[in-house]
């Protein structure tokens, strides 16, 4: 087994608080929900398992018996479509399984053979495109599926995942964390003050006495 502290990205002998903090962040990073439409979901699961083991090991050896790693609270083994299987027709179920297992060619063949292009067809084709890296088409198809059947939560969730991922990366903390780009420069501070002064003068008051 690898050094559990190393797995959590910490130095040897880090405090329990640090371990917990690192653990929480890593679980968020490798959460199955985040890798749901990604071809590397299996690797993410493996990574999460490793993190859980490391966390369990440290907590157990720290001796306070608080063993409540992520795995125990929620089963990470089967991510994905589990909840909705019972409602699906045979065909839809098969295609979902094929997409989930990465068998894209066969899934595409089945989709092509479907006669009716209903909302579920758009949804499945969208998921398949998403996994294959055809994001533009995927986005259009998922949106179409939601439009066709606005009450279907499964479709809506898939579309939400896509836009969450888009905004999540676009506004990632690393990008927005250091603020040298966002802070106003001298020029815009002066103009703002000038505007504020003019507005005050309009109302009869004055912000900057000299002008």
């Amino acid at each position: 087994m690898r050094n559990p502290y190393e797995v959590l990205g910490l130095k040897d002998g880090a405090s329990i608080e640090e371990v917990k903090k690192a653990y929480r962040e890593l679980v968020k990073k490798y959460h199955p929900d985040r890798y749901m439409d990604n071809p590397l979901s299996e690797l993410a699961e493996e990574k999460l398992r490793e993190i859980n083991e490391a966390y369990d090991y440290i907590i157990k050896n720290a001796g306070n018996g608080q063993r409540q790693s992520y795995q125990r609270r929620q089963n990470t083994g089967t991510s994905g479509f589990t909840g909705s299987y019972q409602h699906d027709s045979q065909m839809v179920y098969r295609i979902k399984m094929l997409i989930q297992n990465g068998n894209f060619t066969q899934a595409q063949q089945l989709l092509d053979s479907m006669q009716v292009r209903d909302s579920s067809w758009h949804y499945l084709q969208g998921l398949l495109f998403l996994r294959r890296g055809w994001y533009d088409r995927a986005n259009v198809l998922l949106r179409r599926a939601v439009d066709m059947e606005p009450n279907n939560m499964e479709y809506r969730e898939a579309l939400n995942r896509v836009s969450n991922q888009y905004y999540g990366y676009r506004h990632n903390p690393y990008y927005h964390g250091s603020g040298y780009r966002q802070s106003p420069d001298m020029c815009s501070i002066c103009t703002t003050l000038w505007c504020a002064d003019s507005l005050c003068e309009c109302c009869g008051g004055d912000l900057i006495g000299c002008c």
Binding site: K29, Y30, R34, Y35, N38, P39, L40, L43, A44, E46, K47, F129, G133, W134, Y135, D136, R137, N139, V162, Q165, Y166, G168, Y169, R170, N172, Y174, Y175, S178, Y180
Partner: protein, 293 residues
């Protein structure tokens, strides 16, 4: 390649910047060694990133020493030592520059192309002999690209597929295990997609004026009398979605990679540099002015 993959320089530590430049200079030196000094002109940031990423998977510390080169004779600079990774990255640089020049010669008959081609030919042949499978895969991808261009493919996803596939092959080529291969491949695929489409957006004006092929012009049906700037604005949202989404997928793959060193530089490029470049090209359309470091 295109030189879009750059760090956000002001956000790098000085030490990190020196290391990044060390890789850049290292690749340059490797190119000179294999394709002669004239070959140095083809150096690209993208292959410096390739070298940086692949080398960061090795646990040995960054090795290099200060040295001089003919391009900057006055000052000694930190240069990363010659290694398999640098050799591979410079091979890729030579290969892609060769195809690029060949393509330019066939399309536009630019005068300097045959001269460049001639000096790269030796390097190209050497690379072909060393990595025959990879070269075959890349050439297959390029001919698929050519076919799509001739057929005037009007779908962003489809048009970017061959180039994304080429980058996938390049990135996964030297992976040691299956999981690294998958992860690196997905990084390459999404970066390739991003590069291709960013370049397509960057070239809209030029392509329209010359009547050359551009997938965006076809997909979003550029009207004869439409103002080019308003066309750029019209398609911006859709293009931005696919660009940023590709980057977000690449970031996920990167998170799974077992990176041993250079975390700061890599994270700077992946979480800031690429986004800033995307924004620059989308807002101002001034992306391709690659300046040497």
């Amino acid at each position: 390649m295109f030189g879009y993959i750059t760090p956000d320089k002001p956000d790098l530590k000085i030490k990190e910047f020196e290391v990044f430049r060390g890789y850049y200079c290292g690749v340059c030196r490797a190119i000179a060694k294999r394709a002669g000094h004239r070959g140095r002109f083809i150096l690209s940031y993208d292959t410096a990133f390739l070298a940086l990423l692949l080398d960061s998977l090795n646990s040995s510390p960054v090795s290099g020493k200060p040295g001089r080169c003919p391009v900057h004779p006055l000052k000694k600079r930190f240069i990363v030592n010659y290694s398999d990774v640098l050799e591979f990255s410079s091979d890729i640089n030579i290969l892609l520059a060769y195809y690029n020049l060949k393509d330019k010669w066939q399309d536009e008959r630019k005068l300097f192309s045959p001269i460049g081609l001639f000096s790269l030919r030796r390097g190209y042949k050497r690379v072909k002999k060393k990595h025959p499978d990879l070269v075959r895969d890349i050439e297959k991808g390029l001919s698929a690209l050519n076919e799509l261009e001739c057929g005037r493919c009007g779908q962003m996803d489809e048009a970017s597929e061959p180039f994304a596939g080429i980058m996938k092959k390049v990135f996964e080529y030297s992976a040691e295990c299956d999981s690294a291969k998958k992860t690196l491949g997905w990084i390459g695929y999404n970066l390739g997609k991003w590069i291709y489409l960013l370049d397509a957006y960057d070239d809209i004006e030029d392509n329209i004026k010359r009547g050359a092929y551009n997938p965006l012009v076809i997909q979003f049906q550029y009207g004869e009398n439409e103002n080019i700037e308003s066309f750029r604005q019209r398609v911006k949202k859709e293009v931005e979605f696919i660009l940023v989404y590709s980057l977000s997928e690449m970031e996920k793959a990167f998170s799974l990679l077992d990176v041993k060193k250079n975390h700061g530089i890599l994270e700077n490029i992946i979480y800031r540099g690429l986004l800033i470049k995307t924004r620059q090209v989308l807002e101002m359309g001034a992306g391709c002015d690659e300046k040497p470091l």
